[in-house]
Amino acid sequence: MKKAPGDEPNEALTVSSPKKWAAGVPAVVHALEYSLEETSPVRTGETLLTMNQVGGIDCPGCAWADPAPGHRHRNEYCENGAKHINDEATSRRVTPDFFRTHTVSELARRSDQWLNQQGRLTEPVVKRPGSDFYEPISWHDAFGLLAGELKSLDSPDEAVFYTSGRASNEAAFLLQLFARALGTNNLPDCSNLCHESSGFALHETLGTGKGTVSLDDLHHADLIFVVGQNPGSNHPRQLSALEQAKRNGARIIAVNPLPEAGLLRFKNPQKPRGLIGKGTQIADRFLQIRNGGDLALFQGINRLLLEAEDARPGRVLAHDFIRSDTKGFEEFAAHVRTVGWDDILAATGLTREEIEQVRDEVLRSERVIVCWAMGITQHKHAVPTIREMVNFLLLRGNVGRAGTGACPVRGHSNVQGDRTMGIWEQMPDDFLDALQEEFGFDPPRAHGLDSVNAIRAMREGRVKFFLALAGNFVRAAPDSEITEEAMRGCRLTAHISTKLNRSHTVCGETALILPTLGRTERDVQADGEQFVTVENSMSEVHTSHGRLRPSSPLLLSEISILCRLARHTLGDGVGDIPWDRFEADYGVIRDSISRIVPGLHDFNRRVTRPGGIQLPNAVNEGVYHNDVGKALFTANAFEMPRAPEGHLLLQTLRSHDQWNTVPYTADDRYRGIRGSRRVVLVNPEDVSALGLAEGQYVDLVGVWDDDTERRAEGFRVVPYPTARGCAAAYYPETNVLVPLDSVADKSNQPTSKGIVVRLEPAAAPVPAAAGS
């Protein structure tokens, strides 16, 4: 294990050619290398060998589903999962001495990487008004401070409770219960920033908020679209499923502005052929689309399918299905026939021939799945884009059958489960009625604040109290400077966290850090050792059992923290909520959940079976719980993001050595970038056209219709094979460029993949410090 770094990482940028394949031996080496830098070989073995196994630790990384019990590898994890879990299991510790020697102001100048690498938090600390230091505080006093602040608010709606996708089902359920018992629906979550657009579009068209496919469906699809996602870095285990699909005969079409390594070829490190062979070609066809051109692409494909039906009546579309299960076909068809090819080609940057070849692939396929991620959801027109992908699936009956369906790929292990548990500012009345019946209080019915609206409310002084259940809100949120100003305006900010991050340094007048157990750690309560549950991207709910000795005896579980906070705040005054019993035995929480959350009846018994519970999806039973009771075709107005002459469309993205807002190193191996994250990837022809040079320093300047200048300083230009007119740079460094008001229609999700920027030559580099 290496010691925590004292100095900021300071390496020189080197650039090499992007890789053309993902995983293989280097993935194994890098996973072990990072793990052993963080902790001992014994702890590394304990985490990795139980990770994603039945009865083991669920990977706190992405939400990709595990293979069925009996089909899992002994090493059922990916490089990034291994890095992530040992980042949590690190042997480094942040002690009270650390906070005595570092002011909050100084920590606020540190990079995300440096803060993360200091290690695990060990005891609660508080920053008092006027002080620039965190100092130790007892748990009792911390809860008293929080409860006092909450009780002093003029209205419960002056408080906001944020949830990250790391939180377990049980913790998420308790957080929403506490917030609603207090009297507010202000429950923003990280879903607001990642797949909110998917939820809105799928709910409107199919009546489900979730994807409709299982791993078995992927294995038996004839054709899989992988759209706007980078599985090699963000969901590496998806590559195993795609590889299996390929071996079963599937073809894969990848659609992305960047030719990501994982989209092209995969060397499965679990298989001999992946270690010594050429691996498996993933994409049979790669469509290098412009940022935000996906709506146009699917409108083009849909138009071609309608024309194919015109040429061969009765042989292209799923007429029986369209007649029996859908509504709105005529309006959709009439509209999509009007979308012009000039627009489609301009928006996509593709040729008509390329799109016609896709049509031919579709016509040869009986079973089609569309997978997508944030390359789709983080655009102004994300909801219409996903609706158009649903149109595409419906045209040939590609929902509700084996090997077909919609597959939004979620990036954080329990982001889907948290929403199932009621973390949403707009929960429907039937859920709130069930809460009322179970606990005997009347939950508030007025909708609360999502993430973007919470920032607005904090900024305007309407919200004074911010509590985060995990996460790194200020770095995940858009418009960094405005978000930070909003947070600093709060009377009290508090974070339930495992490690230090920038959100702890951008704090309210009073600030608390409440250190908690990680998912890797044993959780022993009054009634004995506990486990928690999570829901993956394919709606499977299963257990996660911590194995390691806690990082500090003063850590409390998320559930303990919430139960004690609730008791301090609510006393016996609200409803009949057994906070003591909840804390002592998480099974009691699951019993309540089983009576409130649909699909989780008999929760405690069923979830402990190997593989857990498969939540029902009504679409696969021919039922559509939307307003029209049918699968809905929609007519979506053509829309594309446009950048004026001399500007580019920027997408923010993760590097390979990064987990959400936390970079582990300054490297991005697959893209050939090493030593610096302050780079902007630009098509070589755009580099020339803009009069720039490779390696030149530039400032990225956002263009938006307000008077605020948004500038990210000191980025190096890297010529890169991205689509023409587009650029890419890492977040959270570039979140400063995403205007708070630039959101997706309907879903209110920030448009982090469609930011108009200009690149201004800069004279000198700036230090790589977060938020600077």
Binding site: S214, F321, T420, Q426, M427, A618, N620, V623
Partner: protein, 172 residues
């Protein structure tokens, strides 16, 4: 590709025989070659067959299912397909004639005995006999799935399932 077809008369009503047949997950309890059945969804199942030391797992899609009448299925996957049908017709004295018809490719349904038509026929006949003994011994079905499947798609029941069976709100 060859076809195996076997019929057996069971001394229970059609509804009872059909209902019991829908309880796939219980098949390993009374059949000998069927080692495990996982019902991923009503129309998607994983079967494990074992014959001696050889085991073979495969997935099937139920293509059509009509209560008290028949169900048809087809194998999923790249290898040569197999497809089959089981039908239920009124038999003599209130009993039911259960007919299983399977078309098997060269490496077919199981890979265990797919290339051996006579062996395949004997296995089907034996397992049907096990089904007869089991359902007659029970005298009544132990469970039932009365849904309808058309073209691989589960048809909604009337009245439609309560919307509270699944969380229906958007998931971000």
């Amino acid at each position: 590709m060859y076809t195996v077809e076997e019929t057996i008369e069971v001394a229970v009503p059609v509804r009872t025989a059909y209902n019991q047949w829908t309880q796939f997950k219980g098949f390993p309890g009374f059949m000998t070659v069927v080692k495990k059945v996982v019902q991923v969804r009503p129309a998607l199942l994983t079967w494990t067959l074992g014959f001696g030391p050889v085991h073979r797992e495969f997935q099937i899609e139920i293509v059509e299912q009509e209560p008290d009448s028949h169900l048809t299925w087809q194998g999923l996957g790249r290898r040569p397909v197999h497809r089959g049908e089981v039908s239920f017709r009124p038999g003599t004295a209130g009993g039911t004639a259960v007919t299983v018809r399977i078309e098997i490719g060269s490496r077919g349904a199981t890979g265990v005995f797919g290339g051996l038509p006579r062996l395949a026929g004997r296995v089907v006949r034996t397992e049907l006999t096990h089904f007869k003994e089991y359902v007659e011994g029970l005298g009544a079905e132990s469970g039932a799935w009365r849904g309808v499947i058309r073209d691989g798609r589960v048809r909604p029941r009337e009245p439609k399932p309560d919307r509270s069976r699944a969380a229906h709100w958007p998931v971000g």
